[in-house]
Protein backbone atom coordinates (compact mmCIF):
# COMPACT_ATOMS: atom_id res chain seq x y z
CA UNK A 1 0.00 0.00 0.00
CA UNK A 2 1.47 3.33 -1.06
CA UNK A 3 1.65 6.13 1.48
CA UNK A 4 -0.37 9.19 0.46
CA UNK A 5 2.67 11.40 0.95
CA UNK A 6 4.90 9.37 -1.33
CA UNK A 7 4.90 9.87 -5.08
CA UNK A 8 7.41 7.10 -5.77
CA UNK A 9 7.80 3.85 -3.90
CA UNK A 10 10.16 1.06 -4.86
CA UNK A 11 10.18 -2.24 -3.02
CA UNK A 12 12.86 -4.84 -3.67
CA UNK A 13 13.38 -3.50 -7.18
CA UNK A 14 15.71 -5.79 -9.11
CA UNK A 15 16.99 -5.78 -12.68
CA UNK A 16 18.87 -8.64 -14.24
CA UNK A 17 20.55 -8.80 -17.63
CA UNK A 18 21.28 -12.37 -18.72
CA UNK A 19 20.96 -13.54 -15.13
CA UNK A 20 23.35 -10.90 -13.77
CA UNK A 21 21.71 -8.47 -11.35
CA UNK A 22 22.63 -4.85 -12.04
CA UNK A 23 20.08 -3.47 -9.59
CA UNK A 24 19.73 -5.58 -6.48
CA UNK A 25 16.53 -5.46 -4.46
CA UNK A 26 16.56 -1.73 -3.76
CA UNK A 27 13.82 -0.04 -1.75
CA UNK A 28 13.23 3.66 -1.37
CA UNK A 29 10.48 6.24 -1.52
CA UNK A 30 10.20 9.84 -2.65
CA UNK A 31 7.81 12.18 -0.85
CA UNK A 32 5.63 14.79 -2.51
CA UNK A 33 7.62 17.98 -3.14
CA UNK A 34 10.91 16.35 -2.20
CA UNK A 35 14.18 16.50 -4.14
CA UNK A 36 15.65 13.03 -3.91
CA UNK A 37 19.10 12.17 -5.22
CA UNK A 38 20.19 8.81 -6.58
CA UNK A 39 23.91 9.26 -6.30
CA UNK A 40 26.86 7.06 -7.07
CA UNK A 41 29.51 6.24 -9.63
CA UNK A 42 28.82 5.47 -13.29
CA UNK A 43 27.48 1.97 -13.79
CA UNK A 44 26.07 1.75 -10.27
CA UNK A 45 22.50 1.14 -11.51
CA UNK A 46 21.00 4.63 -11.25
CA UNK A 47 19.81 4.97 -14.85
CA UNK A 48 18.47 1.41 -14.89
CA UNK A 49 16.44 2.21 -11.77
CA UNK A 50 15.05 5.34 -13.44
CA UNK A 51 14.10 3.47 -16.61
CA UNK A 52 12.27 0.85 -14.53
CA UNK A 53 10.32 3.58 -12.75
CA UNK A 54 9.32 5.06 -16.12
CA UNK A 55 8.19 1.71 -17.51
CA UNK A 56 10.92 1.89 -20.16
CA UNK A 57 12.69 -1.19 -18.84
CA UNK A 58 11.20 -4.39 -17.47
CA UNK A 59 11.37 -5.05 -13.75
CA UNK A 60 12.95 -8.46 -13.06
CA UNK A 61 11.75 -8.62 -9.46
CA UNK A 62 10.10 -6.41 -6.87
CA UNK A 63 7.61 -3.68 -7.54
CA UNK A 64 7.34 0.05 -8.03
CA UNK A 65 4.49 2.52 -7.73
CA UNK A 66 4.71 5.94 -9.31
CA UNK A 67 1.88 8.30 -8.31
CA UNK A 68 -0.04 5.16 -7.38
CA UNK A 69 0.45 3.51 -10.80
CA UNK A 70 2.36 0.40 -11.70
CA UNK A 71 4.89 1.43 -14.39
CA UNK A 72 4.80 -2.05 -15.93
CA UNK A 73 1.02 -2.32 -16.32
CA UNK A 74 0.14 1.36 -16.60
CA UNK A 75 3.11 2.99 -18.32
CA UNK A 76 0.98 5.59 -20.09
CA UNK A 77 -0.56 6.79 -16.81
CA UNK A 78 2.94 7.12 -15.37
CA UNK A 79 4.39 8.84 -18.44
CA UNK A 80 1.51 11.31 -18.58
CA UNK A 81 2.45 12.68 -15.15
CA UNK A 82 6.20 12.21 -15.05
CA UNK A 83 8.72 14.32 -16.92
CA UNK A 84 12.05 12.77 -17.86
CA UNK A 85 15.33 14.42 -18.73
CA UNK A 86 17.70 11.72 -19.97
CA UNK A 87 21.45 11.74 -19.57
CA UNK A 88 22.83 13.82 -22.49
CA UNK A 89 19.36 14.68 -23.71
CA UNK A 90 18.94 14.67 -27.48
CA UNK A 91 16.71 16.79 -29.70
CA UNK A 92 16.06 16.94 -33.41
CA UNK A 93 18.87 19.28 -34.39
CA UNK A 94 17.28 20.49 -37.62
CA UNK A 95 14.16 21.66 -35.75
CA UNK A 96 13.89 24.78 -33.64
CA UNK A 97 13.49 24.63 -29.86
CA UNK A 98 9.80 25.48 -30.19
CA UNK A 99 9.27 22.87 -32.92
CA UNK A 100 10.90 20.20 -30.78
CA UNK A 101 8.53 21.09 -27.96
CA UNK A 102 5.59 21.19 -30.39
CA UNK A 103 6.28 17.60 -31.38
CA UNK A 104 6.44 16.34 -27.81
CA UNK A 105 3.42 18.47 -26.85
CA UNK A 106 1.42 16.66 -29.53
CA UNK A 107 2.69 13.31 -28.26
CA UNK A 108 1.62 14.36 -24.77
CA UNK A 109 -1.84 15.11 -26.12
CA UNK A 110 -1.80 18.82 -25.22
CA UNK A 111 -4.66 20.51 -27.05
CA UNK A 112 -3.83 22.88 -29.89
CA UNK A 113 -5.30 25.99 -28.22
CA UNK A 114 -3.14 25.71 -25.10
CA UNK A 115 -0.05 24.26 -26.82
CA UNK A 116 1.56 27.51 -27.96
CA UNK A 117 0.91 29.20 -24.65
CA UNK A 118 2.54 26.37 -22.73
CA UNK A 119 5.53 26.23 -25.05
CA UNK A 120 6.13 29.97 -24.70
CA UNK A 121 5.73 29.88 -20.92
CA UNK A 122 8.06 26.94 -20.43
CA UNK A 123 10.75 28.37 -22.72
CA UNK A 124 10.46 31.66 -20.87
CA UNK A 125 10.84 29.89 -17.53
CA UNK A 126 14.16 28.30 -18.52
CA UNK A 127 15.45 31.44 -20.22
CA UNK A 128 15.23 30.19 -23.81
CA UNK A 129 12.43 32.42 -25.02
CA UNK A 130 14.75 34.51 -27.17
CA UNK A 131 16.09 31.48 -29.02
CA UNK A 132 12.77 29.66 -29.38
CA UNK A 133 12.97 29.75 -33.17
CA UNK A 134 16.66 28.86 -33.41
CA UNK A 135 17.64 25.40 -34.60
CA UNK A 136 18.71 23.21 -31.69
CA UNK A 137 21.97 22.37 -33.46
CA UNK A 138 23.20 25.83 -32.44
CA UNK A 139 22.52 25.16 -28.74
CA UNK A 140 25.17 24.51 -26.11
CA UNK A 141 24.89 21.53 -23.81
CA UNK A 142 23.55 23.69 -21.02
CA UNK A 143 20.85 25.12 -23.30
CA UNK A 144 19.82 21.61 -24.34
CA UNK A 145 19.50 20.61 -20.68
CA UNK A 146 17.34 23.66 -20.08
CA UNK A 147 15.23 22.80 -23.12
CA UNK A 148 14.74 19.36 -21.60
CA UNK A 149 13.53 21.00 -18.40
CA UNK A 150 11.20 23.21 -20.46
CA UNK A 151 9.64 20.02 -21.81
CA UNK A 152 9.00 18.82 -18.26
CA UNK A 153 7.46 22.18 -17.33
CA UNK A 154 5.27 22.13 -20.42
CA UNK A 155 3.99 18.73 -19.37
CA UNK A 156 2.90 20.03 -15.95
CA UNK A 157 4.62 16.96 -14.56
CA UNK A 158 4.08 16.03 -10.92
CA UNK A 159 7.44 14.28 -10.85
CA UNK A 160 10.61 15.29 -12.69
CA UNK A 161 13.14 12.53 -13.19
CA UNK A 162 16.49 13.97 -14.15
CA UNK A 163 19.34 11.68 -15.15
CA UNK A 164 22.75 13.27 -14.63
CA UNK A 165 21.39 16.78 -15.28
CA UNK A 166 24.64 18.59 -14.49
CA UNK A 167 27.03 16.19 -16.19
CA UNK A 168 29.31 17.99 -18.64
CA UNK A 169 28.12 21.47 -17.71
CA UNK A 170 30.39 24.34 -16.73
CA UNK A 171 29.96 25.86 -13.24
CA UNK A 172 27.81 28.74 -14.51
CA UNK A 173 25.46 26.45 -16.44
CA UNK A 174 25.35 24.07 -13.48
CA UNK A 175 24.34 26.86 -11.12
CA UNK A 176 21.59 27.99 -13.52
CA UNK A 177 20.29 24.47 -13.93
CA UNK A 178 20.29 23.78 -10.19
CA UNK A 179 18.32 26.98 -9.67
CA UNK A 180 15.69 25.81 -12.19
CA UNK A 181 15.51 22.48 -10.34
CA UNK A 182 15.01 24.33 -7.06
CA UNK A 183 12.19 26.27 -8.74
CA UNK A 184 10.53 22.99 -9.64
CA UNK A 185 10.27 22.27 -5.94
CA UNK A 186 8.52 25.58 -5.35
CA UNK A 187 5.93 24.43 -7.93
CA UNK A 188 5.39 21.34 -5.72
CA UNK A 189 7.06 19.10 -8.31
CA UNK A 190 8.88 16.15 -6.77
CA UNK A 191 12.32 15.64 -8.24
CA UNK A 192 14.25 12.41 -8.53
CA UNK A 193 17.71 13.11 -9.86
CA UNK A 194 20.70 10.92 -10.45
CA UNK A 195 24.28 12.08 -10.48
CA UNK A 196 27.80 10.84 -10.05
CA UNK A 197 28.91 14.38 -9.15
CA UNK A 198 28.07 14.23 -5.46
CA UNK A 199 29.27 17.68 -4.51
CA UNK A 200 27.26 19.41 -7.25
CA UNK A 201 23.85 18.12 -6.24
CA UNK A 202 24.38 17.88 -2.49
CA UNK A 203 23.11 21.41 -2.02
CA UNK A 204 19.68 20.81 -3.56
CA UNK A 205 18.80 17.29 -2.39
CA UNK A 206 16.51 16.85 0.59
CA UNK A 207 17.46 13.18 0.82
CA UNK A 208 19.86 10.97 -1.08
CA UNK A 209 20.44 7.31 -1.77
CA UNK A 210 24.07 6.42 -2.36
CA UNK A 211 24.37 3.64 -4.90
CA UNK A 212 27.13 1.14 -5.13
CA UNK A 213 27.19 -1.86 -7.48
CA UNK A 214 23.44 -1.96 -7.87
CA UNK A 215 22.65 -1.61 -4.19
CA UNK A 216 21.67 1.33 -2.04
CA UNK A 217 24.56 1.63 0.37
CA UNK A 218 23.24 4.61 2.32
CA UNK A 219 19.94 6.46 2.42
CA UNK A 220 18.84 9.58 4.28
CA UNK A 221 19.50 13.29 4.56
CA UNK A 222 23.10 14.36 4.14
CA UNK A 223 23.17 15.18 7.86
CA UNK A 224 21.87 11.72 8.74
CA UNK A 225 24.43 10.04 6.51
CA UNK A 226 27.22 12.13 8.01
CA UNK A 227 26.04 11.09 11.42
CA UNK A 228 25.81 7.46 10.37
CA UNK A 229 29.20 7.23 8.67
CA UNK A 230 31.36 9.93 10.20
CA UNK A 231 29.68 10.09 13.57
CA UNK A 232 28.97 13.75 12.89
CA UNK A 233 26.39 15.33 10.72
CA UNK A 234 27.03 19.04 11.12
CA UNK A 235 29.95 21.40 11.42
CA UNK A 236 29.04 24.63 13.19
CA UNK A 237 31.56 27.45 12.90
CA UNK A 238 31.26 29.93 15.70
CA UNK A 239 33.15 33.10 16.49
CA UNK A 240 32.47 34.81 19.78
CA UNK A 241 34.18 37.08 22.26
CA UNK A 242 34.33 35.83 25.83
CA UNK A 243 36.49 32.79 26.53
CA UNK A 244 34.15 31.28 29.10
CA UNK A 245 31.37 31.16 26.62
CA UNK A 246 33.19 28.77 24.32
CA UNK A 247 33.82 26.32 27.14
CA UNK A 248 30.08 25.89 27.69
CA UNK A 249 29.56 24.64 24.16
CA UNK A 250 31.07 21.22 24.92
CA UNK A 251 28.21 20.37 27.25
CA UNK A 252 25.43 21.09 24.76
CA UNK A 253 23.30 18.07 23.83
CA UNK A 254 24.31 16.58 20.46
CA UNK A 255 27.78 18.12 20.47
CA UNK A 256 30.53 15.56 19.83
CA UNK A 257 33.54 17.83 20.10
CA UNK A 258 34.62 21.45 19.98
CA UNK A 259 37.94 22.28 18.37
CA UNK A 260 39.68 25.64 18.17
CA UNK A 261 39.93 27.04 14.66
CA UNK A 262 41.54 30.41 15.44
CA UNK A 263 41.33 33.27 17.90
CA UNK A 264 37.79 33.40 19.34
CA UNK A 265 36.84 30.85 16.70
CA UNK A 266 35.79 27.23 17.26
CA UNK A 267 34.37 24.47 15.09
CA UNK A 268 31.66 22.36 16.71
CA UNK A 269 31.18 18.80 15.47
CA UNK A 270 27.60 17.81 16.25
CA UNK A 271 24.99 15.16 15.60
CA UNK A 272 22.41 17.80 14.80
CA UNK A 273 22.16 21.46 13.88
CA UNK A 274 23.07 23.10 17.22
CA UNK A 275 23.26 26.73 16.06
CA UNK A 276 20.37 28.00 18.18
CA UNK A 277 21.62 26.22 21.32
CA UNK A 278 25.18 27.43 20.73
CA UNK A 279 24.05 31.03 20.24
CA UNK A 280 21.96 30.86 23.39
CA UNK A 281 24.87 29.38 25.36
CA UNK A 282 27.28 32.13 24.24
CA UNK A 283 24.83 34.89 25.14
CA UNK A 284 23.93 33.25 28.46
CA UNK A 285 27.64 33.18 29.34
CA UNK A 286 27.91 36.90 28.66
CA UNK A 287 29.81 36.46 25.41
CA UNK A 288 29.29 38.38 22.17
CA UNK A 289 28.39 36.39 19.07
CA UNK A 290 30.37 37.48 16.00
CA UNK A 291 29.64 34.75 13.45
CA UNK A 292 27.65 31.54 13.30
CA UNK A 293 27.34 29.20 10.33
CA UNK A 294 26.58 25.55 9.70
CA UNK A 295 27.73 23.04 7.11
CA UNK A 296 26.82 19.46 6.59
CA UNK A 297 29.43 16.81 5.97
CA UNK A 298 30.31 16.51 2.28
CA UNK A 299 28.81 13.60 0.41
CA UNK A 300 32.21 12.91 -1.14
CA UNK A 301 33.70 12.48 2.32
CA UNK A 302 30.79 10.36 3.53
CA UNK A 303 30.93 8.16 0.44
CA UNK A 304 34.68 7.63 0.57
CA UNK A 305 34.69 6.99 4.32
CA UNK A 306 31.85 4.51 3.98
CA UNK A 307 33.73 2.40 1.47
CA UNK A 308 36.99 2.66 3.41
CA UNK A 309 35.13 1.35 6.46
CA UNK A 310 33.46 -1.39 4.42
CA UNK A 311 36.82 -2.46 2.96
CA UNK A 312 38.38 -2.41 6.44
CA UNK A 313 35.57 -4.58 7.79
CA UNK A 314 36.08 -7.09 4.96
CA UNK A 315 39.84 -7.22 5.69
CA UNK A 316 39.20 -7.78 9.36
CA UNK A 317 36.77 -10.60 8.56
Amino acid sequence: MMSADNVIEAQGLTKRYDGVAVVKAISFSVARGEIFGLLGPNGAGKTTTILMLLGLSDISEGQARVLGHDPVREPLAVKRRVGYLPDQVGFYDNLSAADNLRYTARLMGIERDEREEKIAASLDHVGLHDVADHAVQTFSRGMRQRLGLAEILMKDAQIAILDEPTSGLDPQATAELLQIIRNLKTRNVSVLLSSHLLDRVQSICDRVALFNKGEIALLGTVGELGQQVLGIGYYVDLEAEGAGALEKLKSLPGVRSVEPAGPNHVRIYAERDVRSDAAAAVIAAGGRLLRLSVETASLDLIYNRYFENAAGARHAA
Binding site: T47, T48, L51, L54, L56, S57, V72, R73, E74, P75, L76, A77, K79, R80, V82, G83, Y84, L85, P86, Q88, V89, G90, F91, Y92, D93, Y103, T104, R106, L107, M108, G109, G148, E151
Partner: protein, 313 residues
Protein backbone atom coordinates in the same frame (compact mmCIF):
# COMPACT_ATOMS: atom_id res chain seq x y z
CA UNK B 1 -0.18 -9.05 -19.50
CA UNK B 2 -2.76 -6.44 -20.49
CA UNK B 3 -1.38 -2.95 -21.12
CA UNK B 4 -3.50 0.12 -20.59
CA UNK B 5 -4.56 2.32 -23.50
CA UNK B 6 -4.14 1.92 -27.21
CA UNK B 7 -0.82 0.65 -28.55
CA UNK B 8 -1.16 3.07 -31.44
CA UNK B 9 -1.71 6.23 -29.39
CA UNK B 10 0.48 8.94 -30.93
CA UNK B 11 0.78 7.08 -34.25
CA UNK B 12 -0.64 10.04 -36.19
CA UNK B 13 1.77 12.49 -34.55
CA UNK B 14 4.80 10.32 -35.31
CA UNK B 15 3.52 9.66 -38.85
CA UNK B 16 3.11 13.37 -39.65
CA UNK B 17 6.47 14.32 -38.15
CA UNK B 18 8.28 11.61 -40.09
CA UNK B 19 6.41 12.49 -43.27
CA UNK B 20 7.45 16.11 -42.91
CA UNK B 21 11.07 15.03 -42.30
CA UNK B 22 11.05 12.86 -45.43
CA UNK B 23 9.57 15.49 -47.67
CA UNK B 24 12.06 18.18 -46.69
CA UNK B 25 15.18 16.03 -46.34
CA UNK B 26 17.97 16.51 -48.87
CA UNK B 27 18.46 12.75 -49.04
CA UNK B 28 14.88 12.25 -50.15
CA UNK B 29 15.07 15.03 -52.71
CA UNK B 30 18.18 13.49 -54.30
CA UNK B 31 16.66 10.00 -54.37
CA UNK B 32 13.42 11.33 -55.86
CA UNK B 33 15.26 13.16 -58.64
CA UNK B 34 17.36 10.12 -59.45
CA UNK B 35 14.34 7.85 -59.73
CA UNK B 36 12.29 10.37 -61.72
CA UNK B 37 15.08 11.23 -64.18
CA UNK B 38 16.15 7.66 -64.78
CA UNK B 39 12.54 6.50 -64.98
CA UNK B 40 11.65 9.15 -67.54
CA UNK B 41 14.78 8.36 -69.53
CA UNK B 42 13.73 4.73 -69.70
CA UNK B 43 10.18 5.67 -70.73
CA UNK B 44 11.41 8.10 -73.36
CA UNK B 45 13.57 5.37 -74.87
CA UNK B 46 10.66 2.94 -74.71
CA UNK B 47 8.46 5.43 -76.56
CA UNK B 48 11.03 5.77 -79.33
CA UNK B 49 11.19 2.02 -79.69
CA UNK B 50 7.41 1.57 -79.58
CA UNK B 51 6.91 4.28 -82.21
CA UNK B 52 9.41 2.60 -84.53
CA UNK B 53 8.38 -1.04 -84.19
CA UNK B 54 4.78 -1.43 -83.15
CA UNK B 55 2.01 -1.32 -85.68
CA UNK B 56 -1.04 -2.45 -83.78
CA UNK B 57 -0.80 -3.71 -80.25
CA UNK B 58 -3.76 -3.88 -77.84
CA UNK B 59 -1.38 -3.28 -74.93
CA UNK B 60 0.70 -0.45 -76.29
CA UNK B 61 0.74 1.46 -73.04
CA UNK B 62 2.12 -1.48 -71.08
CA UNK B 63 5.05 -1.59 -73.48
CA UNK B 64 6.16 1.78 -72.06
CA UNK B 65 7.02 -0.07 -68.86
CA UNK B 66 8.70 -3.09 -70.41
CA UNK B 67 10.37 -2.04 -73.65
CA UNK B 68 13.91 -0.78 -74.05
CA UNK B 69 15.43 0.93 -77.05
CA UNK B 70 17.77 -1.29 -78.99
CA UNK B 71 21.24 -1.16 -77.53
CA UNK B 72 20.03 0.00 -74.11
CA UNK B 73 19.93 -2.67 -71.42
CA UNK B 74 17.33 -1.11 -69.11
CA UNK B 75 13.58 -0.87 -69.29
CA UNK B 76 11.51 1.29 -66.96
CA UNK B 77 10.70 -1.80 -64.90
CA UNK B 78 14.33 -2.86 -64.60
CA UNK B 79 15.25 0.67 -63.49
CA UNK B 80 12.64 0.39 -60.79
CA UNK B 81 13.74 -3.07 -59.69
CA UNK B 82 17.19 -1.61 -58.95
CA UNK B 83 16.26 1.83 -57.67
CA UNK B 84 13.30 0.90 -55.47
CA UNK B 85 15.42 -1.17 -53.06
CA UNK B 86 18.05 1.59 -52.97
CA UNK B 87 15.58 4.33 -52.20
CA UNK B 88 13.72 2.17 -49.63
CA UNK B 89 16.93 1.19 -47.84
CA UNK B 90 18.09 4.81 -48.06
CA UNK B 91 14.98 5.91 -46.21
CA UNK B 92 15.03 3.34 -43.44
CA UNK B 93 18.59 2.33 -42.59
CA UNK B 94 18.86 4.91 -39.81
CA UNK B 95 15.24 5.18 -38.72
CA UNK B 96 15.68 3.63 -35.26
CA UNK B 97 19.44 3.69 -34.68
CA UNK B 98 19.32 7.38 -35.70
CA UNK B 99 17.02 8.01 -32.74
CA UNK B 100 19.47 6.12 -30.50
CA UNK B 101 22.45 8.05 -31.82
CA UNK B 102 20.72 11.42 -31.53
CA UNK B 103 19.73 10.34 -27.99
CA UNK B 104 16.13 11.22 -28.70
CA UNK B 105 14.71 7.71 -28.27
CA UNK B 106 14.42 7.63 -24.48
CA UNK B 107 13.02 11.18 -24.41
CA UNK B 108 10.36 10.38 -27.00
CA UNK B 109 9.44 7.05 -25.40
CA UNK B 110 9.11 8.82 -22.04
CA UNK B 111 6.06 10.56 -23.53
CA UNK B 112 2.72 8.77 -23.14
CA UNK B 113 3.07 6.52 -26.20
CA UNK B 114 4.11 2.91 -26.72
CA UNK B 115 7.01 1.81 -28.90
CA UNK B 116 4.45 0.40 -31.33
CA UNK B 117 3.37 3.90 -32.35
CA UNK B 118 6.93 4.99 -33.03
CA UNK B 119 7.77 1.96 -35.18
CA UNK B 120 4.46 1.91 -37.09
CA UNK B 121 4.56 5.67 -37.57
CA UNK B 122 8.06 5.58 -39.03
CA UNK B 123 7.29 2.64 -41.32
CA UNK B 124 4.00 4.00 -42.58
CA UNK B 125 5.44 7.48 -43.17
CA UNK B 126 8.31 6.05 -45.22
CA UNK B 127 5.96 3.79 -47.18
CA UNK B 128 3.57 6.68 -47.80
CA UNK B 129 6.42 8.89 -49.00
CA UNK B 130 7.56 6.19 -51.41
CA UNK B 131 3.98 5.66 -52.55
CA UNK B 132 3.58 9.36 -53.31
CA UNK B 133 6.84 9.25 -55.25
CA UNK B 134 5.77 6.18 -57.25
CA UNK B 135 2.27 7.47 -57.95
CA UNK B 136 3.77 10.71 -59.25
CA UNK B 137 6.17 8.76 -61.44
CA UNK B 138 3.38 6.47 -62.64
CA UNK B 139 1.23 9.47 -63.57
CA UNK B 140 4.18 11.02 -65.40
CA UNK B 141 4.64 7.86 -67.44
CA UNK B 142 0.95 7.61 -68.27
CA UNK B 143 0.82 11.33 -69.11
CA UNK B 144 3.91 11.12 -71.27
CA UNK B 145 2.46 8.09 -73.02
CA UNK B 146 -0.80 9.91 -73.70
CA UNK B 147 1.06 12.93 -75.03
CA UNK B 148 3.53 11.12 -77.26
CA UNK B 149 1.48 8.14 -78.44
CA UNK B 150 -1.71 10.13 -78.79
CA UNK B 151 -3.80 7.21 -77.54
CA UNK B 152 -5.59 6.69 -74.24
CA UNK B 153 -4.86 3.45 -72.35
CA UNK B 154 -7.61 0.83 -72.35
CA UNK B 155 -9.32 0.06 -69.07
CA UNK B 156 -7.50 -3.28 -68.82
CA UNK B 157 -4.16 -1.58 -69.42
CA UNK B 158 -5.00 0.92 -66.72
CA UNK B 159 -5.92 -1.82 -64.23
CA UNK B 160 -2.77 -3.78 -65.08
CA UNK B 161 -0.71 -0.61 -64.64
CA UNK B 162 -2.40 0.03 -61.28
CA UNK B 163 -1.62 -3.52 -60.14
CA UNK B 164 1.96 -2.92 -61.22
CA UNK B 165 1.98 0.26 -59.11
CA UNK B 166 0.64 -1.62 -56.08
CA UNK B 167 3.21 -4.40 -56.52
CA UNK B 168 6.01 -1.83 -56.79
CA UNK B 169 4.87 -0.33 -53.48
CA UNK B 170 4.80 -3.82 -51.91
CA UNK B 171 8.28 -4.46 -53.32
CA UNK B 172 9.45 -1.20 -51.73
CA UNK B 173 7.79 -2.33 -48.47
CA UNK B 174 10.02 -5.42 -48.32
CA UNK B 175 13.23 -3.40 -48.59
CA UNK B 176 11.88 -0.72 -46.27
CA UNK B 177 11.12 -3.34 -43.62
CA UNK B 178 14.55 -4.89 -44.17
CA UNK B 179 16.30 -1.53 -43.76
CA UNK B 180 14.26 -0.83 -40.64
CA UNK B 181 15.06 -4.27 -39.22
CA UNK B 182 18.78 -3.61 -39.58
CA UNK B 183 18.36 -0.12 -38.14
CA UNK B 184 16.94 -1.82 -35.05
CA UNK B 185 19.55 -4.58 -34.89
CA UNK B 186 22.62 -2.40 -35.50
CA UNK B 187 23.30 0.74 -33.47
CA UNK B 188 25.64 2.03 -36.17
CA UNK B 189 23.85 3.47 -39.20
CA UNK B 190 26.88 2.71 -41.38
CA UNK B 191 26.72 -0.97 -40.44
CA UNK B 192 22.98 -1.06 -41.06
CA UNK B 193 23.26 0.44 -44.54
CA UNK B 194 26.20 -1.76 -45.52
CA UNK B 195 24.48 -4.95 -44.40
CA UNK B 196 21.21 -3.91 -46.09
CA UNK B 197 22.94 -3.12 -49.38
CA UNK B 198 25.04 -6.26 -49.13
CA UNK B 199 21.93 -8.37 -48.67
CA UNK B 200 20.23 -6.58 -51.56
CA UNK B 201 23.19 -7.29 -53.86
CA UNK B 202 23.30 -10.90 -52.70
CA UNK B 203 19.56 -11.52 -53.17
CA UNK B 204 19.31 -9.63 -56.46
CA UNK B 205 22.47 -10.68 -58.25
CA UNK B 206 24.19 -13.60 -56.56
CA UNK B 207 21.29 -15.70 -55.27
CA UNK B 208 19.46 -16.15 -58.63
CA UNK B 209 22.77 -17.22 -60.22
CA UNK B 210 23.56 -19.73 -57.52
CA UNK B 211 20.06 -21.12 -57.07
CA UNK B 212 20.39 -23.70 -59.94
CA UNK B 213 23.72 -24.97 -58.55
CA UNK B 214 22.25 -25.16 -55.05
CA UNK B 215 19.29 -27.10 -56.44
CA UNK B 216 21.66 -29.64 -57.98
CA UNK B 217 23.68 -29.83 -54.76
CA UNK B 218 20.50 -30.31 -52.71
CA UNK B 219 19.10 -33.15 -54.83
CA UNK B 220 21.75 -34.45 -57.25
CA UNK B 221 19.77 -37.52 -58.35
CA UNK B 222 16.54 -35.71 -59.26
CA UNK B 223 15.25 -35.44 -62.83
CA UNK B 224 15.64 -32.25 -64.83
CA UNK B 225 12.10 -31.02 -64.22
CA UNK B 226 12.48 -31.36 -60.44
CA UNK B 227 15.80 -29.53 -60.56
CA UNK B 228 14.30 -26.66 -62.58
CA UNK B 229 11.40 -26.35 -60.18
CA UNK B 230 13.66 -26.54 -57.10
CA UNK B 231 15.95 -23.87 -58.55
CA UNK B 232 12.95 -21.67 -59.28
CA UNK B 233 11.55 -22.06 -55.76
CA UNK B 234 14.94 -21.22 -54.29
CA UNK B 235 15.34 -18.19 -56.53
CA UNK B 236 11.97 -16.94 -55.32
CA UNK B 237 13.47 -16.32 -51.90
CA UNK B 238 14.75 -13.11 -53.50
CA UNK B 239 12.21 -10.26 -53.50
CA UNK B 240 13.75 -8.99 -56.75
CA UNK B 241 12.93 -12.31 -58.38
CA UNK B 242 9.35 -12.22 -57.10
CA UNK B 243 8.94 -8.67 -58.37
CA UNK B 244 10.35 -9.55 -61.79
CA UNK B 245 7.93 -12.49 -62.11
CA UNK B 246 4.91 -10.40 -61.14
CA UNK B 247 5.90 -7.70 -63.60
CA UNK B 248 6.23 -10.25 -66.40
CA UNK B 249 2.81 -11.76 -65.63
CA UNK B 250 0.97 -8.46 -65.25
CA UNK B 251 2.62 -6.22 -67.84
CA UNK B 252 3.01 -8.88 -70.49
CA UNK B 253 -0.48 -10.33 -70.96
CA UNK B 254 0.76 -13.15 -73.22
CA UNK B 255 2.57 -14.76 -70.27
CA UNK B 256 0.94 -18.15 -69.62
CA UNK B 257 3.14 -19.44 -66.82
CA UNK B 258 5.99 -18.31 -64.61
CA UNK B 259 7.51 -21.79 -64.52
CA UNK B 260 8.05 -24.53 -67.05
CA UNK B 261 5.23 -24.73 -69.61
CA UNK B 262 3.75 -28.20 -70.14
CA UNK B 263 2.18 -29.43 -73.34
CA UNK B 264 -1.13 -29.82 -71.54
CA UNK B 265 -1.13 -26.08 -70.88
CA UNK B 266 -0.73 -25.33 -74.56
CA UNK B 267 -3.60 -27.58 -75.66
CA UNK B 268 -6.15 -25.41 -77.47
CA UNK B 269 -4.19 -22.25 -76.74
CA UNK B 270 -3.69 -19.61 -79.40
CA UNK B 271 -0.02 -18.81 -79.11
CA UNK B 272 0.69 -15.14 -78.54
CA UNK B 273 -2.91 -14.44 -77.54
CA UNK B 274 -3.21 -12.31 -74.37
CA UNK B 275 -4.51 -13.85 -71.14
CA UNK B 276 -7.49 -12.24 -69.45
CA UNK B 277 -6.60 -9.99 -66.53
CA UNK B 278 -8.00 -12.44 -63.98
CA UNK B 279 -5.80 -15.23 -65.34
CA UNK B 280 -2.69 -13.04 -65.29
CA UNK B 281 -3.49 -12.08 -61.73
CA UNK B 282 -3.89 -15.75 -60.78
CA UNK B 283 -0.47 -16.51 -62.27
CA UNK B 284 1.18 -13.70 -60.30
CA UNK B 285 -0.90 -14.07 -57.12
CA UNK B 286 1.58 -16.24 -55.14
CA UNK B 287 4.39 -13.79 -55.91
CA UNK B 288 2.23 -10.79 -54.91
CA UNK B 289 1.31 -12.53 -51.66
CA UNK B 290 4.97 -13.40 -51.18
CA UNK B 291 6.01 -9.74 -51.42
CA UNK B 292 3.31 -8.58 -49.00
CA UNK B 293 4.08 -11.47 -46.62
CA UNK B 294 7.80 -10.68 -46.82
CA UNK B 295 7.08 -7.09 -45.82
CA UNK B 296 4.94 -8.19 -42.88
CA UNK B 297 7.41 -10.86 -41.77
CA UNK B 298 10.40 -8.51 -41.77
CA UNK B 299 8.40 -5.78 -40.02
CA UNK B 300 7.19 -8.20 -37.33
CA UNK B 301 10.75 -9.45 -36.79
CA UNK B 302 11.94 -5.87 -36.32
CA UNK B 303 8.97 -5.13 -34.07
CA UNK B 304 9.72 -8.07 -31.76
CA UNK B 305 13.41 -7.15 -31.51
CA UNK B 306 12.57 -3.47 -30.89
CA UNK B 307 10.10 -4.34 -28.12
CA UNK B 308 12.78 -6.37 -26.33
CA UNK B 309 15.54 -3.81 -26.76
CA UNK B 310 16.81 -1.61 -23.96
CA UNK B 311 16.03 2.05 -24.48
CA UNK B 312 19.24 3.42 -23.02
CA UNK B 313 21.90 4.52 -25.46
Amino acid sequence: MQREGSALRGLGVVFLKELSDHFVSIRMRVLEWIIVLLGLLAVFNAIQQVKETTAEDPFLFLKLFTTAREGLPFTFVSFLSILVPLIAIGMSFDSINGEHNRRTLSRILAQPIYRDALLFGKFLAALFTLSVCFVALWLLVIGLGLYVLGLPPSSEELVRALIFLFVTIAYAGVWLALGMLFSIVFRSAATAVLVSLGLWLFLSLIWPTFAPYLAVAASPSSDEETLILTAQYMARLSPSNLYAEVVVAILNPTTRSLGPIYLSQLQGAVLGAPMPLGESLMIAWPQIVGLVAGTILLFVLGYVIFQRQEVRA
